[in-house]
Every structure is written in C-alpha cells, then in structure tokens.
C-alpha cells in the first residue's frame, strides 16, 4: 500500500497551525477575554451594557457586585434571588482569579490581594493600557462612557480587545 505522504504532511501542517492560532486566541493572547456564554447571564448583564467578561474581575468583586444590585453604579438592577444566584455562580466560576490562579490575565495585575474592585475601568492595568486615549475621545458622542468598550474595540462582544 502506498502511503500518500504529501497530502498527509500538508494536512498535518494545517492542523498544527490552526491549533497554534486557536490556543493563542483562547489562552495566550492578553487581549482576549472569553465572552459570556451563558444565555441568562448574557441577557441579564448585557441588556444595558456589554456583558463584561467575567475574567476581567476577581471572584470577590463579582460577589460584592451581585450583593449590591439595588445600587448598581447608581441604577437599581435588582433581580429575583434565583436568577441572581445563578449569575453569581457563573461569574465566580469564570472570574479572573478562578481555579486558584492569582490572575488569569494581566488585567488584574496590581490589584491588592483582598480588594474587590467594582469598576473594570479603574483597574491599574486598565488605566495604564488606556493612558494614551485623549479626553476628547472619551467625550465623543459615540463613546460617552469608558464602559462602552465596543465604541473602539469593535470585536469586544466576541472577546477581542485589540487596539
């Protein structure tokens, strides 16, 4: 039997390359934050603003936030207990420090061990990453708030926050 070496080799190289790209996109790329996959979380956390990736904050931040929904950055975003609990579980399980890691992304670098920051836009790493964005750009009518990631990061909903 003749073994078709060439097609096999091409196939193998293609597979290896895709695996490399995929792995980079999934874990290695510091500008990738896995988007919310749970439909309930997506609906409840994504109607008023982008459903922020759970890996952008540590678990203790999400726990505190979900306990203070009555005053959610000035708005009453309270939910029924069952839904709130389900969402908390998802956020905690996928948090930036989930699985015993100090942080899954560089975004949490500089956050004190016991701190539970609430605004992603106040994380030290976030601030330094955006230091070159001029004030007028934040005030632009299509931006208006630092929480409006998609205004500049057009693929933010898919988890990509490249420049």
């Amino acid at each position: 039997m003749r073994i078709p070496y060439r097609p096999l080799a091409i196939g193998f190289v293609t597979l290896a390359f895709s695996a490399l790209v995929l792995a980079r996109a999934q874990a290695g790329d510091r500008h990738f934050f896995a988007p919310v996959a749970d439909p309930v979380v997506k609906e409840e956390c994504g109607s008023c603003h982008l459903a922020f990736a759970p890996s952008m904050l540590p678990a203790r931040s999400w726990q505190r936030m979900m306990g203070e929904l009555k005053n959610h950055f000035g708005d009453d975003a309270s939910l029924d207990a069952a839904t709130a609990e389900k969402i908390t579980r998802y956020l905690v399980a996928n948090a930036g420090d989930a699985g015993g890691q100090r942080y899954s992304s560089k975004l949490l670098r500089g956050v004190a061990a016991g701190a539970s920051p609430q605004r992603i836009t106040e994380l030290p790493k976030w601030v330094s990453e955006h230091r070159k964005v001029p004030d007028w750009e934040w005030r632009h009518k299509d931006v208006r708030t630092k929480a409006n990631c998609v205004a500049c990061h057009t693929a933010a909903e898919q988890g990509y926050y490249d420049d």
Partner: protein, 133 residues
Amino acid sequence: MKNTFAATLGTIVMILSTATLAGPREDLLAQYAAAAKTTGFSAARGQALHTQSFSGGKSDTPSCTTCHGKDTRGTGRALTGKTIEPVAVSVTPTRYTDPAKVEKWFKRNCTEVLGRECTPQEKGDWLTFVIGQ
C-alpha cells in the same frame, strides 16, 4: 370525504386564529385591564406617557425617549452607549412576548424615569401605544 377535510381545515384555522388573538401581549393587556379595573386602554395616553418629561425620577433620564429615542420605529441608545431595539412591535415583533421581562423593564424604567412604579392603567396604555406602532 371532502366535507370532513373542509371541517378539519376550518377547525385548524379557528384554533390558529384564537391562538393569535390570545397571544402573550393580549394576555398581558387583559391582566392590566383587570388590575386597573378598566375596559379601555388608550394609545394616545400611552404616547403622552412615552414623550412626557418627568421630574420625579433620575435627572439624566427625564423621559422614556431619553434612551428609546423620539422615533418609536428607530433604535434607541442607553446612557452606556448600547443600542436599544425599537419599541414598536411592527419593527421588533419579538417584543413584549415574555410577561416577566415586560414587568421587569416596566419596574426598572418607570422607577428611573418617573421615580415610582407605573400603574396598570399606564402600563396598558403604553403597551397599546407600542403595539399599534
């Protein structure tokens, strides 16, 4: 044989038309009507509620149109920058078919804009208004 077929078809059409008549939106309106002890809702009153400026709620959201926009068939924009699908049923036919969702947003949005929850009368008027849009 032909008669049986016609009768079956007739029954199916009747069932379908009843199902359309008593959709989730109509059920909601019936609930609001019962709670408000009224027989009629007014699209005109709903429109007035939609466009009116209130002072009882939050200062950055004085009216429904602040976020939903003046055109009911156009998209709105939350203060966070996020796009809101048009409120008009003719443009967003999936709207107001989940009663729990409708109630959730009435509670949130009325509290923010009016500074209180909306009455069943107001909810029915507003829903009538956007169903007709």
